[in-house]
Structure formats: structure tokens, C-alpha cells
């Protein structure tokens, strides 16, 4: 869909440095499969020269806590990472059998079509569907870029309950799930008739969670 065009990495504005896309079981990753073997896919970008490191308070808590229970942490995490030569994009998907499909590619100006088909680094864990997953991720990033000023993205996730302790048990914060289709649902589209049938334009709207036909339809924002 979106990858059929000449979009490049410069056209992608990451809404966050990293995000998770939860995948439904009904998602068929290729024409032969009827269900999705992957639970979710995480994707992130590390800019050139940007230090990638956990916050110091988390590291203090982690290292102090592990030492108390007799573990010896490796200082590996304290050093962090940098990518001095170019930005890097990392992807990681987890299957239902707890296997990972991961990839890492330089994030520098190039066509997204080309990036989607690029060989991953030699040590990456390949998965039968990794190219499909990478295309899906790039399409989602383009979609989020297109809607980057939408209130759904700007306002973030509505909180339902704050994190709290119930006796000795920690209850996680509860937030309302956000679906990609919430962005698409708000759009109307205009069906353009062939010249031979020129006349009134038909106005329709996308309902449910369908993405709509791509041929002969121009989308228009409200």
C-alpha cells in the first residue's frame, strides 16, 4: 500500500523513539497462513551519536537490588550504546513459541521499499515472515507520521487507573488501549469517477476497521 510509492526514511517522523505494535491473531502474514505467529513487534530508532542508556535511577535500583540477592551485575549496561557512524533502526518481534525475529538496519536516507527488502545483519535472527513484518512496521510508521498531529497521538493514552499497591501486590497502571484504526476511522474519502462517467463525486466514509480500497479513491481529511 504505502510502500508502493517513493517514500524515503526522511518522510518518516518517529512519534516516539520506540514503540510496540500488538498484532491480532487474525493477522495473516502471508497468503498461506490463516493466523499470526507473532504476538507483537517492537521497533525503535537510535539517532547517530545519541547515547542509549537506561536512566541512572533505574540502574541504581537494579544494580543495588541484584547485589542484595547475591547476583553480580555486569557493568555492560552502565556504558550504554552509541551509533557513531549512522542512525540505526532495530526491530524485534516475539512469536507465540517465544522465538524472536529481529533485525537491525542503518537509518539513513534511502527508499523505504529498498529498506524493507534489505538483508539484515548476519547475526540477526531471521524468521520466515521478517520481510512482511518489516513492511508492516514501515507502513505503520508512515501512517503515524501522516497523523502525527492527531489528538489521539498528541494526547496519548487515557489513564483508567493509577498504579497502586493492594496489600503486598502491585497493581499496574491501567490505560485504554489505542488502536491504529481509531486514526483511520475518522477519515472520509472521495471516490473519483472515471472521466467517461464524470459528474457528481460520491462521498463515502470508512467505517469499522477497514482501510478502504486503494484504487480510485482519494482520501481527504476533515
Amino acid at each position: 500500500m504505502l510502500l508502493r510509492t517513493d517514500f524515503t526514511t526522511d518522510d518518516v517522523h518517529w512519534p516516539w523513539p520506540g514503540l510496540r505494535i500488538m498484532l491480532p491473531k487474525e493477522l495473516a502474514l502471508n497468503a498461506d497462513s490463516e493466523s499470526c505467529p507473532l504476538q507483537y513487534v517492537d521497533v525503535c530508532v537510535a539517532a547517530q551519536g545519541e547515547p542509549i542508556r537506561f536512566p541512572q535511577e533505574l540502574l541504581d535500583d537494579l544494580f543495588g537490588g541484584l547485589a542484595k540477592i547475591g547476583c553480580t551485575p555486569n557493568p555492560y549496561l552502565l556504558r550504554g550504546f552509541t551509533h557513531p557512524e549512522a542512525g540505526e533502526c532495530y526491530g524485534c518481534a516475539l512469536s507465540y513459541s517465544l522465538e524472536t525475529a529481529t533485525w537491525a538496519n542503518r537509518w539513513e536516507t534511502r527508499r523505504l521499499q529498498e529498506l524493507a527488502r534489505t538483508e539484515t545483519a548476519p547475526d540477526s535472527s531471521e524468521h520466515a515472515n521478517v520481510e512482511s513484518v518489516r513492511k508492516l512496521v514501515l507502513n505503520v510508521l508512515l501512517l503515524l507520521t501522516h497523523y502525527e498531529l492527531d489528538p489521539i497521538l498528541v494526547e496519548g493514552t487515557p489513564l483508567i487507573r493509577r498504579a497502586k499497591m493492594k496489600g503486598r501486590h502491585f497493581l499496574a497502571e491501567l490505560a485504554r488501549a489505542r488502536f491504529l484504526s481509531e486514526l483511520l476511522r475518522k477519515k472520509a474519502f472521495r471516490r473519483v469517477k472515471p472521466v467517461s462517467e464524470a459528474g457528481e463525486e460520491e462521498i463515502g466514509s470508512i467505517s469499522g476497521e477497514s482501510v478502504g480500497e486503494s484504487t480510485g479513491i482519494k482520501r481527504r481529511s476533515h
Binding site: 510502500l3 508502493r4 516516539w16 523513539p17 520506540g18 514503540l19 510496540r20 505494535i21 500488538m22 491480532p24 491473531k25 487474525e26 493477522l27 495473516a28 502471508n30 499470526c36 504476538q39 517492537d42 530508532v45 542509549i52 542508556r53 537506561f54 535511577e57 533505574l58 535500583d61 537490588g65 541484584l66 540477592i69 547476583c71 551485575p73 555486569n74 555492560y76 549496561l77 550504546f81 532495530y90 526491530g91 524485534c92 516475539l94 524472536t100 529481529t102 540477526s124 535472527s125 512482511s132 513492511k135 508492516l136 507502513n139 498504579a163 502491585f170 499496574a172 491501567l174 490505560a175 485504554r176 488501549a177 489505542r178 488502536f179 491504529l180 484504526s181 476497521e209 477497514s210 482501510v211
Partner: protein, 102 residues
């Protein structure tokens, strides 16, 4: 991924409360009709703890799979783990509309 002693995982929440809350402090409420379409959130939260502990206790610096999971963890933590769901309906239509197959 290297194995981690299950006792360490069991003690992680109590020994490192701030780290635990940072990683596992948020869940998402899904509409009832969608809940069966997605995997357990507990599995995903548990995986974050595992990645952090493996990276701390058994690091393999050259392993791209682990490095990829770890850097995803660091970058997502910066913005409180943004999560979006590919809707079940969108999932059914995605292949037909060439969302990732073209």
C-alpha cells in the same frame, strides 16, 4: 536467549522495585470483543524483565537479537512504552489491501 535462574526472576519485583515498576507498571484495557485476539500482556511484561536481567547478568554484547530487544527497551522506556494495537478488523483486511505484502 540465555537462561536466567527462576529464583532471580521471582525476587526481581521485591529486590528492584523501581526497575520492576518502570518495566511492568502499565497494562492496557481492551474492549471485551477484542481480548481474545491478542496475546497475554503478562507474557510481554515478563519478557521485558527477562531482557533486562539477561542483559545485566549474562550479556552477549555482539548478539544482535538481544541487543535489538535491549535497545527497544531503553528507547521505549524513555516515552513510557507507547503501544498501539493493529486492530483485528484491520488485520483481516491488511493482506488484501497490501499493507505489507507489496
Amino acid at each position: 536467549m540465555p537462561e536466567i535462574d527462576s529464583r532471580i526472576l521471582d525476587q526481581f519485583q521485591r529486590a528492584c522495585p523501581a526497575a520492576y515498576r518502570a518495566l511492568a507498571g502499565r497494562k492496557f484495557l481492551l474492549p471485551n470483543r477484542c481480548q481474545a485476539s491478542y496475546s497475554s500482556q503478562d507474557v510481554a511484561l515478563h519478557r521485558r524483565q527477562l531482557v533486562l536481567l539477561v542483559s545485566t547478568l549474562s550479556p552477549k554484547e555482539d548478539s544482535i537479537p538481544l541487543r535489538s530487544e535491549l535497545i527497544n527497551l531503553v528507547q521505549s522506556l524513555r516515552c513510557e512504552f507507547p503501544t498501539t494495537l493493529f486492530g483485528p478488523g484491520l488485520g483481516r483486511d491488511a493482506l488484501a489491501h497490501g499493507f505489507y505484502d507489496r
